[in-house]
Structure formats: C-alpha cells, structure tokens
Symmetry: C2
Subunit: 439 residues, 2 copies
C-alpha cells in the first residue's frame, strides 16, 4: 500500500518508521478515470430462485467477507462493550465506524499517527466508514448547508466544523477503512417534495465530487442513493448513483421513522436500478426480521446500532422474538436465554444470572458491567448466525422457506414502539425547521 502510505504521510507530516517511501510506479491517488486499481472485489456465488436474495463474497485489503453480512457498529473505534476478541469469537467479519464521531474525537490525524483505524482499535479485518452525513444532520448543531458542504457545531464541545465532500475523503483516507462513503445529505423525515429533491440533488453533486477527489487506491468507495420516500425520486437517484463508477452502494435515508411498508416499497424501487454485480449495503438496518426481508429484496450488507443498544437495555433476541431480560419471569430461569445459541453467554450463563446482573442497579450504575458485554455478545452472535444461515439457505435454494419460517416464528416488539425507536434514531431529521442556505 505504498501510495496510500505516502498519501497519509504527506497529510500527517510525520515520520512513520514502518512506511517505505512512495514508489513512483504506483498510480497517483486518482480521479474516477484512474480507478483502475481494484481495492474491492465482489462475486455473487449463489442466488435464490424465488427472491432477489444473493450469496456473495466481498474481498478487501483486510480480508474477505461472506454476504449477506451484518456489520456491528463501532461508533468511537469500539463496538460498545465488545473487544476484538469478542467480535472474532462471535464470527464478526467486518465492522462499521462513524467518521463523524472519530472526526470530533480523537480526530483523524491522531488515528493516522497510530497507523490508521485498524491498528488503533486492533481490528485487523475489514472496516467500513460512513461519511458522517447522517450524524451531521441528526446530531450536529446550527447546521448551515449549501452546495459547498455543511457547517456545524460539534455536539461535544461546540467547536465549528466544516465538511465538504473533499474533506470527508481526506478524513476517511486518514482513518484508512477498506470501504468508505461519500458525504451525502439525508433528507428529514418526513419532508416536503422540495426538501427531498434538494437533498437528493445535492447528494448527487457531492457524489461526483467525491469520485473526483483524491483518494487512496486501496479504499473502495460506495455511492449513496437517496430519494426520501418518493418512489420516482428513489428510482432516479438509484439510476444516477448506480451509473457512477462506485465499487458498491449504501442505500441511505431509510429506516428513519417511516412505516415499514413504505421502506419496502422504496427498497424495491431502488434495488433493480443498481448494478447487479456490485454489493448493496442498507444503511442503519436493523432488526432480525428487517435483515431477512431486506436480504429477500437483494441487500448484501447491513449495519445497525439496534442489536447492541437494545442488548444493553435488556432486549435479547431469540428465534421467537426479542425478550426483555429485566422481566420478573427470568429471575429464576436456570436455562440460557437461547438454548440453541452457541455464543459464550448462552453456553455459560443462565438467563437468571443475566437478569440479576442487569437488575443490579444503584448509585449511578445501570447494571453490572459484565451484563453489557454478555448481552452484546449474544445479540451480535444471533445476527451473525442469522445471516450465516440465510446464506447457506440461499446456496441450497431454500432461502424463501427459511425466511418464511423465521418470520412466522419471530414476534417483533410492537410495531408502534419500533417506529418510535426509529424516529428517535433520526431525531434531528424529523424537525422540519427552516434550514439556512449559506455556509
């Protein structure tokens, strides 16, 4: 990775003793025209005869990933409560990290000085970084958006930050993920047709600028189709983004509080317009049933904080649904949460012990620390296994039945409650406040 090291070295301006000097034979970090180097390969190795589901293999500089795949979210360069040892033990093959949070703390230059995100968090397998677009629009304060980019105040310390498509590429180059995303604008939910169009158009311009910006040849760039909840706009965006020389596609702006049937309709509008031979990532999804329904519609990759976040508040997955380990009925249960699960938690501990740990609250402690690790191990393993089994079923030609069986047996939490949770996740997007034009 000589050219990329040289790029990082120039940016950081410091010696990295393990980096060799840039070889002149490498292609310069390039524009769309020079994206001849292949930092990512994707091969579809099996297809479901009844649905749009595919099984694939994604190859990156840090290793291969079998798809469909669930990617836990490592917001602050750590998947909450889980060390790399835990992640490996449950079969995680790729994680997502948030550019927005890492930009604010500890900062991309520091991470680059540590040799990049893989080295910093000691995760030597693939990493995907999102662009920060979603968090800027949901977390940042005093946003000013223009065609140039977005300006906001850090929610941590109020410092003013400007992000442009070019700056985001720079930041992601310093972080060094295998797959990176361009700056996009996610429209609020709900939004007016005008807001939806403006955000989508801007996303398209920014996509072009990201492709034209300098970037590392060892990083794959995924495009982000938007389109709000307008099927026509969704089709147009997917066509436009889909025609650009991206290595894959991360579908944005869904699961932001819209009713589930709307989400499926949008997904069904988007997928056929994306190149079949490139991977499709559905941003911010999701629950077990959402994963399977999305796989059935042609999605290959997922990321979501829900499984780990709900684990920490007591929501643990089983094939029959999401139980709440805080409930009194678990107090005396000697069996594990999920007797069919092979994770460390279910192999080792009773549900009653987990109940006890989480209910051990006092003096500012929301539960015993061990609980959060054990619960997160279980929920992540559950989703990894679900995707592994889905993949095996796709290869066997039995995915449609597999999905039907799982959905029939799995009772999701109340639909209303879930919509509320999704709305909370997209909190900043729901306020239809007027937005300043100029940066």
């Amino acid at each position: 990775m000589k050219a990329s090291d040289a790029f990082v070295k120039r940016r950081v301006g410091q010696e990295n003793t393990s980096v060799e000097s840039a070889a002149s034979t490498q292609a310069a970090p390039g524009s769309a025209q020079t994206r001849g180097a292949q930092p990512l390969a994707f091969t579809v190795v099996g297809r479901c005869p009844q649905t749009a589901a595919r099984a694939g293999v994604l190859t990156t500089p840090h290793g291969a990933v079998q798809t469909p795949v669930f990617m836990p979210v490592g917001t602050h360069a750590t998947v909450k409560a889980l060390g790399p040892d835990d992640l490996r033990a449950v079969g995680v093959s790729i994680v997502l990290a948030n550019t927005y949070h890492l930009l604010l703390r500890p900062g991309p230059d520091l991470i680059a000085a540590f040799g990049g995100l893989h080295e910093f968090m000691r995760w030597e397998a693939p990493i995907l970084t999102d662009s920060g677009g979603f968090q800027v629009f949901s977390l940042g304060h005093l946003r000013a958006v223009s065609d140039d980019g977005v300006r906001f105040r850090s929610h941590l310390d109020g410092a003013e930050v400007t992000l442009t498509p070019e700056r985001v590429m720079e930041i992601e180059a310093l972080l060094g993920a295998d797959i990176i995303l361009p700056l996009d604008e996610c429209p609020p939910y709900p939004c007016t047709p005008e807001e939806g169009r403006t955000a989508t158009e801007r996303t398209h311009r920014w996509a072009e600028r990201a492709l034209a910006a300098a970037h590392r040849p060892d990083q794959a760039l995924f495009g982000i189709p938007q389109g709000s909840m307008d099927a026509e706009l969704r089709v147009a965006s997917a066509r436009f983004i889909g025609a650009l020389p991206f290595d894959g596609f991360s579908i944005g702006g869904l699961s932001v509080g819209e009713p589930k049937p709307v989400m499926w309709r949008m997904l069904e509008a988007v997928i056929p317009e994306l190149p079949d031979t490139k991977p499709r990532h559905l941003l911010g999804v999701g629950s077990p049933e959402d994963l399977l329904e999305s796989v059935a519609r042609g999605v290959d990759m997922f990321d979501c904080v829900l499984p780990t976040r709900t684990a920490r508040t007591g929501g643990l997955y089983t094939a029959s649904g999401r139980l709440n380990i805080r409930a009194a009925r678990f107090r005396t249960q000697r069996e594990p949460v999920d007797p069919t699960c092979d994770c460390y938690t279910c192999r080792t501990f009773s549900a009653g012990y987990l109940h006890h740990l989480l209910r051990s609250e006092d003096e500012g402690q929301r539960g015993e620390l061990l609980y959060f690790r054990l619960a997160s191990i279980h929920n992540v393993r559950f989703l990894i296994r679900l995707m592994d089994e889905a993949r095996a079923a796709i290869l066997e030609g039995t995915f449609a039945a597999f999905r039907e069986r799982f959905i029939a047996g799995f009772t999701p939490p109340d639909e209303q409650i879930r919509d509320e949770q999704r709305r909370k996740r997209g909190a900043g997007l729901t306020a239809p406040s007027p937005r300043p034009d100029a940066i």
Copy 2:
C-alpha cells in the same frame, strides 16, 4: 457433598434434581466439636529467611490456591467488568463475594436454587464470602446493634433486615462458598477505647456462636480478630480468636483510614498471635505496596476493590507507580500501558487507545464500556503477577530483595490522597454518632 446438599435442600425447601438424598453416614452439620472434616488444608511450602513471608498452598473443595494470593472482589456475584473467562485468563485462582450485597439482591435462597454461588456466577474455582459485618456497619441505615446481632435497613429498598451470627452462617451455607466468615463488628475509625473494646468483645462472642452454629462440613470458617488501633487489644483479640478452632483468620478493621504506620504496627501485633500453620487473610487490602508490605509481615491472602475500582477511573498500575490514563500525555502513546505485562490489554492495545476509550464520555456514558474491561484486566493481572513473583522470590529466598526493589521503584499516589480514599471506604465507620443498644 451430600450432607451439604441436604442442608441446602432443607433450607430452601425445593427440589434440586441434581441433588442426591442425604446419606446418613455423613456427619451432621456440626458444632465446633465435630469439625473433624477438613474442608480446607493449608501447607506452608516456603519461608523467607529475612521476613515473616511465607509461600503456601491452600486446598479447598473447588481447587487449590497458591499463596500469597490476591482475590478480586465479586460484590454482586461478578467481579465488575470481568467475566470468568477474563478472570481465568489473568490467573485469578479465588474470588471474594459479599454476603451483605447478595443477601439483599438477589437473595441467598435464589442463589441456592441455582446450585449455589459457584454455579450462579459460573466460577468453578474457590470462593470466599465475607460475613457482611463491614458493609452493615458502613452501608446499612438505622443500625441497631446488640449482643444478639445487628438490625439495619437495606440501602437498596429500605427493607428491615436482622443479622445474627447464626443467620449469617445460614446465609453463607446457601451461598456455598469454600471459605466463609462469621458476623463480626468492625469498630468505627477513629473510636474511643470503650467503643473498640465493646466491638471487639462482641466480635468474640459472635465468633463463638458462629462456631457453635450449624454449618456445612465442606465450608471452611475463618475467624476475624479485631481490636481497633489499640495494640494491646489487638494482641488480646488475636490470641482469643487464634485459639478457637477456625480454619484460618481474616484480619479485620484495618485500612479504614488510619495512617499507614499504625496499620503496620497493628499487623505486627496480630500476626505472631495467630497459629503459624493456618492461613492469614488481611481484609480490604489493597494497593501493590500494601500487598508486599503485608506479605513481609506474614499475610497470605488479600482482597480489595481498589485495583478494579481505580482501574475504572483511569488508575492503572505499572512497576513505577499508578498512572492516570486520562492524562493528556497518554493521548499519543503507541506503546501499551505496561510493556512488561502479559495481559490481553497490554499485549494488544496502545495506551493512547485506552486513553481515547475512557475519554469518550457523553450523554451519561463515563467512557466506552470496553475500557472498563481492559483496564480491570490489566490491574488484576498486575496484582496476580506481583503475588506470583513474590511467591517465587520467597521460595528462592530472595523475597526481601524483591520487596525492596519493588517498593523503591513504585511511587504510590500521594499519601494524603490515599488516606482520604481509605476514609471514604470506611465512611460509615467514621461518624461517631451514638449507637442504639437494643434490637
């Protein structure tokens, strides 16, 4: 363990399918006279020629323990942030659990229904339970103390609880630890000579009652000499308790805010009065230097929340002292906290990453969850290694030099700060408020 299972069964009054019916050939849970069964063996296998330090082997129903040994504290049936897998990985051989906390939540009957504490927390190695005496006097509200026992209100829900020496033995039988402690009264610090004598006398009466109470033949009982900070009273208590048929001794009422030289003087008064061939446990100690200084004075076993608690707030041990990983200078450190340490944390992560994790505070999060596990792993491993190395030095005849070298290189946090921390731990003991006599 048929007699013990029968004992538990009668108490709990419920079926335990894995328990065989009591065999009549077993000795009944007995009084001091029938303490012929040996639930614990202790052998001194080496002695320091220059100091009172010894190396030993403690054998319990759940396995052997090499001494000197540090026992992490598993307050709520978990050592905070560490799973049994982590404990095993860092070489922990025995843990301490708090009867007071487990009595209040989840309760001894529930734990017995789960097969006992070992099974509940899935720690299949030795466990020592303290009696709750210290916590009652430091945490409980509206205490009424009499020769009968102590009455208090749970700090959790205000429920009124009465503890007598007999009740404590019952509770500890249900918990099922390998080593148990009798109810004692720890005098406040500071205290009047009268208060010191009253508490010590009461501890002696309660010790006799504990020995006379029904208890499991597979549990070892340690006696607790008290005596406040009066050397004569300490000698008298050590002689009295030391002459009783306890299996070992847990020295109480030290490290409660007294100046360090006073603690050493008390320890030096106590140790010679205890049987040389039985193990000595120093309750609530402590820091690395305190461990070595106590080993030099003849202590075999230690327990303390300090190493894990200070880890969680950034205090990490190295041979040169306790650093604070929050400090700005660690932000850019690529090396581990302790390059000589073999724990998972030091083998894997940079100090800068730990700094980042702990400094990732927001919205009610005091730092990333992964930090607390990694930091606790390190500090516990540090103390385990320290005791292992001390033991090896004792066996080689080089302990005096080992201790001197370590103490010379290790700079403890400011003495004043430490005294304050100790006073905080014994908070309830410092208020010289009048105490009701009657229960």
